[in-house]
């Protein structure tokens, strides 16, 4: 999964790299216009990039840096121009990457994120996307290499024009991101184009709008009040980024604690070691295959991690922890207990619903519940069988029960995911193994 994603990211980066070389070369040849503004905006991009939100969330990681780059592009050809905007943003982003790498893995940041994933050097793909974004906005301000379309505009029309430019830029970014995701998806691990685009457009409403507004305001304020406006606008954006960081850290902590709760059933001997993790990874892969939106995927992950929690209420463990061979009534009782527990953990109520209904026939379940049901059944059925034959037999058993127990769509998606995974496992290991993903 990671390998394929990195490859697509690098392919994008190489394309953008040529573009950046052109930008830097042209800016050097033609001379830097308004060096003060170039330094100020470059500084904003650098700062935002250094304080990037740790990866792991699927949203904009450095709103301040992106807003700074867009604001610079919106200054128009008299101050920036396409080549210079691309050069400044690329150089600042690259410098931030080098500085982060030189600083090495940091001791940690904050109580929540102390041992969470490090901010690390900005990912190549995100940097490439930002350069394309900035170039798009700059081209809109200077169409066909002609003059400054902003000359002579002021007040509301100018603001309206800039908002329209950034709206178009944001849409372009969403399309680009979805396309990259789909390209990765073809290699395995990404997601189809349409749901990716839907997520991207939905994301625009939240943090995307803040980024675009920040960019427009920075451009307008610098034109009105000089470079003093840059820190003035950058500070609130920095706070936006800080709140994102805080949110990411809290989410990471929550995920870890839910993981510990999920491991409780394993340590207690109710379920085989690693069961909750395997089910959640496979369930998320199936959910992605079915095009679930990002929020649904998160809920699915939590539900899959905690789906067996009801077994803690049993005095004696179910043999092997496998609930699937039990009779329906017993399974529904355990599921209901689990739902009660999940409700008490403060997880969103949808998660509790998924856990509660996990033993119901698929027509009475939400889609995420159907996924958990089928994936859990598959895991239970293959717990003993390491050979591909056992896995095929398990899938076959699921198929036979698609009339009532399992959703045929989910089983088909599971089959596709498994087929891809087994090919990759085969290629990677030169043989078969149960551990996939």
């Amino acid at each position: 999964m990671r390998k394929a994603g990195t490859a697509a990211g690098w392919a994008l980066a190489v394309g953008v790299g040529g573009f950046v070389v052109w930008g830097v070369g042209w800016a050097a040849y033609a001379g830097v216009r308004e060096p003060g503004a170039a330094c100020a905006f470059g500084g904003v991009v650098l700062l935002g990039e250094l304080l990037r939100v740790p990866p792991g969330t699927d949203r904009e990681g450095a709103p301040l840096a992106t807003a700074g780059g867009l604001g610079y592009a919106l200054l128009g050809p008299t101050a920036a121009g396409v080549a210079q905007a691309v050069a400044v943003v690329a150089v600042a982003t690259g410098a931030a990457g080098l500085m982060a790498r030189a600083a090495g893995p940091r001791a940690g940041h904050g109580r929540h994120g102390r041992h969470a994933r490090k901010a690390g050097p900005p990912r190549v793909e995100a940097a490439a996307r930002r350069v394309l974004l900035v170039a798009f906005a700059a081209v809109c301000c200077q169409p066909l290499g002609g003059g400054d379309v902003l000359t002579g505009t002021a007040g509301a029309p100018r603001a309206a024009f800039l908002v329209a430019v950034l709206g178009a830029t944001a849409l372009w970014d969403a399309v680009l991101a979805a396309a990259v995701g789909a390209a990765v998806g073809a290699a395995g691990g990404g997601r189809p184009f349409a749901p990716g685009l839907r997520d991207g457009v939905r994301g625009l409403a939240g943090i995307g709008s803040a980024v675009c507004a920040g960019g427009v305001v920075m451009a307008l304020a610098v034109r009105s009040a000089g470079l003093w406006a840059v820190p003035l606008v950058a500070l609130p954006l920095l706070l936006t980024q800080a709140s994102l960081r805080g949110h990411a850290a809290v989410r990471a902590t929550y995920r870890q604690t839910v993981g510990a709760l999920a491991r409780a059933t394993e340590v207690a001997g109710y379920t085989p070691p690693g069961h909750a993790r395997r089910v959640s990874e496979l369930a998320v892969a199936v959910g992605r295959e079915l095009g679930l939106p990002a929020r649904q995927l998160t809920l699915l992950e939590y539900a899959a991690l905690m789906h067996d929690i009801g077994q803690l209420s049993l005095v004696d463990p179910v043999p092997g922890g496998a609930t699937e061979p039990l009779d329906g009534e017993r399974r529904q009782t355990i599921a209901a207990l689990g739902g009660e527990v999940v409700r008490r953990t403060g997880a969103p109520s949808e998660v509790a619903l998924i856990v509660e209904r996990q033993a119901h026939p698929f027509r009475e379940q939400p889609l995420a519940g159907r996924i958990v049901r089928a994936v859990n059944a598959y895991e239970d059925l293959t717990a003993e069988a390491a050979a591909p034959a056992g896995r095929l037999a398990a899938v076959e058993r699921l198929r036979l029960a698609t009339g009532y127990e399992y959703d045929p769509r989910v089983v088909e998606a599971l089959t596709r995911v498994l087929a891809r995974q087994s090919t990759r496992t085969w290629l990677d290991a030169g043989g078969e193994g149960k551990e996939v993903g």
């Binding site: 003093w228 406006a229 207690a268």
Partner: protein
């Protein structure tokens, strides 16, 4: 917050509210007489009202917990005459959230007074002129002063109503919120300044919408983070209750050990972070009992060697369960080693003396003390004095003497802290039914769950006489932003 909805307001509080509302009306009155830019007032007022929670559905969870959206008010204070600026907050406060009318009027009145004062301060420093001329380094001064004045006046008025209505001690009502409010309000001042600047350059409503937008998104993200944090604390409690579920006779034991561990740590002069870590370690010390078969845990007779071996695995199970949970990293040593003894005769590793990590030595004493002072199926509870004498006797062989001494000192000072528990609750009660309500949550990892069900909360619990650093749940955007700053800076 004044709890006006439940009981009648004291007379002093009613007088305060009426006086503040009258003052607000007086501040705004001149606007009617003079030529006022009603268009500007209307745009800002509408914008302010839209930012009130509950007016526009933002996503699935509006930031309902955040306070008034101050940047718009400060923009008004910088570009409008004081009387007109005072009106900006009024429609939103009156129409906004579903509150009793007294509280709506109170919000409108005190915000009007605060905005009026801020606008007056800005005007005295030549704010509007500086903004019109885009005189930037200088314009920062009126903006900052307006923000500070707003923050001071609004804290003072809110404090007054807290003192009169809730009988808060003045130090809590005025002293605590003020430092937390200053930083965020200065930031709001900057946002207000940018808004005003662009407004006066002819960008009009665009400026009013676009400039505060990132701030609004920040508040929204922050509100979501708070919900996740609350969910996280509930999850930690769910872990603790899972143990109670398996072993109902020890119900409340985890919480009490957590409290006693924190007590010892505080007595030893550890800093707040370490005290919180130890509370957590105490609460979770028996988490590994989840891995011990329920039949063995619930057995009331003497254990055979095999059962004893199974029970003695629980520290290692607990250590394994909490692997990879970053905020428990320091507590894990205590979970693993809380059954070690000073002379090396404990388990699981048979460590001796200083080899045993300090947190584990603290939790061991707290654990033994609570085990002796609570009722078990096979014996009644011992009185505190007798338990302490037993700890003294074993101090040096089983327990670390400084820890025992610290517990003794702390208990002689506040003897009711570890009052013996009630009779154990009936076994077999469903786990969820025992969960305390999630309202009394501390707001950060390092959670100190509230006293467990099945036992009344002692009045002098260590958690209550020293407010932990993160325990006060932030109630306004201001504190939210401060926390966010802290997340970046730390």
């Amino acid at each position: 917050m004044p709890g006006t909805s439940r009981r009648p307001l004291p007379r002093e509080a009613r007088v305060t509210v009426v006086a503040v509302c009258a003052a607000g009306a007086l501040c705004a009155a001149p606007a009617a007489a003079s030529a006022t830019a009603w268009g500007t007032v209307a745009v800002l007022a509408v914008l302010y009202a839209l930012c009130e929670p509950g007016v526009v559905p933002v996503g699935r969870h509006p930031p309902s917990a955040v306070g008034p959206f101050v940047p718009v008010l400060l923009a008004g204070a910088l570009i409008l005459p004081p009387s007109a600026a005072a009106l900006v907050a009024v429609p939103g406060s009156l129409a906004g959230r579903p509150l009793p009318w007294v509280r709506r009027c109170w919000r409108a009145g005190h915000l009007a007074v605060a905005v009026w004062t801020a606008a007056l301060a800005a005007r005295l420093l030549g704010g509007p002129a500086a903004l019109r001329a885009a005189d930037l380094p200088y314009a920062l001064l009126p903006a900052a002063v307006a923000a500070l004045v707003f923050s001071l006046v609004s804290t003072a008025l809110t404090g007054a109503v807290l003192v009169t209505a809730e009988r808060c001690p003045p130090a809590t009502a005025w002293g605590d919120p003020l430092p937390a409010a200053l930083g965020p309000h200065l930031t709001y001042g900057l946002v207000g300044l940018t808004t005003g600047l662009l407004w006066l350059r002819g960008y009009g409503a665009f400026a009013a919408v676009l400039v505060p937008l990132p701030m609004y998104v920040a508040c929204w993200v922050f509100a979501r983070a708070r919900r996740v944090r609350a969910a996280h604390d509930a999850t930690v409690r769910a872990l603790v209750q899972a143990v109670d579920l398996k072993d109902p006779y020890t119900r409340g034991h985890s919480e009490r050990v957590g409290r006693a561990s924190a007590l010892i740590a505080a007595e030893l002069g550890m800093d707040d972070d370490r005290v919180d870590t130890l509370r957590l370690a105490g609460i979770l010390h028996d988490i590994g009992k989840l891995g011990v078969p329920t039949r063995v845990l619930r057995k009331s007779g003497p254990l055979d060697p095999e059962e004893r071996r199974l029970i003695q695995l629980h520290p290692e199970y607990g250590h394994e369960m909490t692997r990879g949970v970053a905020f428990l990293e320091e507590a894990r040593a205590a979970i693993l080693h809380h059954h070690e003894r000073l002379d090396g005769s404990g388990y699981p590793h048979g460590l001796a003396g200083a080899e045993i990590p300090e947190p584990a030595r603290v939790v061991a004493v707290a654990d033994a003390f609570d085990a002796m002072t609570s009722t078990r199926s096979y014996r009644p509870a011992r009185p505190v004095a007798s338990a302490l004498a037993e700890l003294q006797r074993c101090s040096g062989t089983h327990f670390d003497p400084p820890m025992v001494a610290a517990l003794t000192r702390a208990l002689t000072r506040q003897p009711d802290v570890t009052a013996p528990p009630d009779a154990p609750a009936a076994p077999g009660g469903p786990w969820p039914a025992t969960a305390p309500t999630p309202s009394a949550l501390p707001s950060a990892p390092g959670p100190a769950p509230e006293p467990a069900a099945g036992r009344p909360a002692p009045t002098a619990a260590p958690a209550s006489h020293r407010v932990p650093r993160q325990a006060a749940a932030p109630t306004s955007v201001g504190e939210g932003v401060l926390l966010a700053v802290w997340a970046v800076g730390a």
